[in-house]
């Protein structure tokens, strides 16, 4: 498929800009399903707020953290680290073609962070004491928990929200009145002036809290199996965020484009696959370097339960690292999708295992999430999925060609407005 753009250049399915999914209805059966699941989960979470934690969860004094913290916050925000990983690649390491997929990363990242913070809010037992966050002299600067509690909401509410702002303003610009357009034209230079400074913050903050999530586990000391307990936990947590973040952006782009019948730009996707492979290799290098340094390599290959857990983790990250070195593989949609899925699983697996499965606090305690706990966790995820399904239809998130952009306006019976 090829088309002529306004300059006369020939384009072959190249992603050029974000375009809303406009050929499909907003409300679908799948959306209703996820919305219902989200309503159930959030309803339960609300009831939980007015009830003790005990009846709603399988947590106990030995396993004091359940899946709301260990999965929704510590694991799923790794998938939500796309804005960090893709943004760093695009702005810092000059991978210009990745600017086009940035919006997909930003929206998924925002949804994972927002639902993760929601999970955190309903997980803590004394949420009303959060006002202490306004009194910096009460902050315990040595606590990784403080770093996470301050840094994550700040990032999500200010920096990530600001990065998502152009999406929203753009829609107002195209659908609003002439007065709205004039106001936005006046505001644009200011937003563009502060933009580079804000996105600097948007990369520094997640570097801090994604590593601090691993830092949380340092204090647990011997409770965590030595294959995972290491002074390198913060760095490895950060690298796992890179693995899962890049993997998930690739996964979402492929799945969404297949679902909404959008052509793929295999060069852009291949670039993502290329970076993903390198980040996987860096992760593995640090992981194995650390095991050798701490003399745990024997335990890693002892083929007992913990060793098998470790080997599965390594395989999940090693396979995409190796396979995606081949350009042919990463420009084959099916292979890329499979490898991105493995990387997502591997990154989140690494983040989840030391919090729960390789965490052995007491001889007589076990933890398995209770049904309401699972439903609430699924509710947060369903909320993110449903919101994504709506957002891509109203806002110019998913990348497409300029032809698609022009078609959208033609279908609405309007001329695409010119640049300001």
């Amino acid at each position: 498929m090829s088309a002529q753009d306004t300059t006369g250049a020939v384009l072959v399915n190249h992603w050029q800009r974000g375009v809303p999914v406009f050929r499909e209805p907003v409300i679908t059966r799948a959306l209703l399903f996820f919305a219902a699941l989200a309503a159930l989960g959030l309803g339960l979470a609300l009831v939980r707020f007015f009830s003790p934690l005990g009846p709603f969860s399988g947590m106990n004094d030995a396993y004091a953290w359940g899946i709301w913290k260990t999965f929704n916050v510590m694991t799923l925000t790794a998938l939500g680290s796309g804005p960090l990983a893709v943004g760093m690649a695009a702005w810092v390491f000059n991978r210009q073609r990745l600017h086009k997929v940035m919006r997909t990363a930003l929206v998924t990242g925002f949804l994972f962070y927002a639902t993760g913070l929601l999970a955190l809010g309903f997980d803590v037992g004394r949420a009303w004491n959060f006002w202490n966050i306004l009194l910096p002299w009460r902050w315990n600067a040595h606590s990784a928990m403080l770093e996470v509690a301050v840094c994550m909401p700040l990032y999500c509410a200010i920096f990530l929200a600001f990065e998502n702002l152009p999406l929203v303003l753009e829609r107002f610009y195209y659908t609003g009145s002439e007065a709205t357009r004039a106001a936005l034209r006046r505001a644009a230079p200011f937003l563009r002036r502060i933009y580079p400074f804000v996105i600097t913050g948007a990369y520094v903050l997640p570097l801090m809290h994604q590593s601090s999530l691993g830092g949380l586990l340092l204090l647990a000391g011997d409770k965590i199996n030595p294959l995972w307990q290491t002074p390198f936990l913060p760095l490895l947590y950060l690298l796992a965020a890179g693995v899962a973040g890049l993997g998930f952006v690739t996964f979402v782009l492929l799945m969404a484009c297949l679902h909404y019948s959008r052509p793929l730009d295999l060069e852009d996707l291949g670039e993502l696959g290329n970076l993903l492979s390198w980040v996987c290799f860096v992760f593995l290098a640090v992981r194995f370097g650390d095991l050798i340094w701490r003399r745990q390599l024997g335990a890693a290959f002892a083929l007992d339960r913990m060793s098998l857990l470790f080997l599965v983790e390594t395989a999940l990250i090693l396979v995409p690292a190796v396979v995606l070195r081949s350009r042919a593989a990463r420009e084959t949609p099916r292979t890329l999708l499979n490898m991105a899925t493995l990387a997502c699983l591997g990154g989140t697996y690494y983040r989840f295992v030391p919090t729960t499965i390789a965490y052995a606090p007491g001889r007589y305690s076990t933890y398995f999430p209770a049904l309401p706990e699972v439903l609430i966790t699924l509710g947060y995820i369903a909320l993110a999925v449903a919101a994504f399904g709506i957002v891509v239809k109203y806002f110019a998130v998913l990348p497409a060609s300029i032809e698609e952009w022009n078609d959208m306006f033609r279908l609405a019976g309007r001329r695409p407005p010119a640049a300001p």
């Binding site: 753009d5 306004t6 974000g18 003790p52 934690l53 005990g54 009846p55 947590m59 004094d61 030995a62 004091a64 953290w65 702005w91 810092v92 000059n94 803590v124 037992g125 004394r126 949420a127 004491n129 959060f130 202490n132 966050i133 009460r138 902050w139 315990n140 600067a141 040595h142 606590s143 990784a144 928990m145 403080l146 509690a149 152009p166 753009e170 563009r192 933009y195 580079p196 996105i199 600097t200 913050g201 990369y203 520094v204 570097l207 801090m208 601090s212 949380l216 340092l218 204090l219 647990a220 000391g221 011997d222 409770k223 002074p231 606090p361 110019a396 300029i402 952009w405 695409p416 640049a419």
Partner: protein, 313 residues
Amino acid sequence: MSAPIDRRQFLRVVGFGGAATAAVASPAAALEHPAHPEAPPDAVGMLYDNTICTGCKACMPACNEANGLPPDTALSGGLWDTPLDLNEKTKNIIKLYQDPHGTGSAFVKRQCMHCLDPACVTGCPFGALEKNKWGAVTWDSSRCIGCRYCEVACPFQVPKFEWDRWNPKIVKCEFCFDQRLEKNQQPACCAVCPTGAVIFGKRADLLAKAKERIAVTPGKYFEDRVYGEHEAGGTQVLYLSHSSVPFDKIGLPKLGSTSLGHYATKVTSVIYKWLAGPLFIAALLGSVIKRKWDRHEAERHEREKRTGLPDQL
């Protein structure tokens, strides 16, 4: 292709940030959480000797009374206080250990160890748990958000959470701080103990006394050493155990002598001292991003004119 980041400029940023980090951070880290903290001279403590304890459990109701705790009657059908372990109604417990094969048997008293550098205090985000006067580790309800990081951090599994209350508290031995220490009284468990199995005093004195007991009767005590002198950086509650009863059998885990706070913060406290590390990264990334941004803006105007389409961020 790339806007070449001028190497000299790069080095200037790196050099400046690095120097600032080094100047600010290096001495600070070790001071806040030393690997092997020194007990302050006024640190109080308890010494528990299970060769003296008769298991009368007088300390348990005394603790409940001093701390206003309800009896835990779950196992006794509502009749009497029969906790299985430390829990949200029990800050102090006497347990019996019997070796299933050998002859060893001993009581053990469990309560907060009041570490010299407590992991719970290091982790607590808003300082609800703090190292108070005389080294007592106390809890402040107005600062606690109920995150339960203290439970994850404590190597002795001491802090407990009220899972069945809407307004949950963290329950742990606070050395009877408000109830008795502040009134110049010793903790209720030590005051009531009829045999002197648990005694109260300055940590330094108790440590000397424990070593004296070991010296007088070598071989009587397990490994001829005091548990808590060095464990996890040292604790203010000290234990002596009968030679046939290893510490880890009575719930006192094998731990290194480095404080967990030191292990967890030795790197981050350098990076985060006065936010030097994050500011350095911000300066570094910011200078690169600003350069790329300026070029993006220059190209944008040209591209918008050419395609007639507004730039997307």
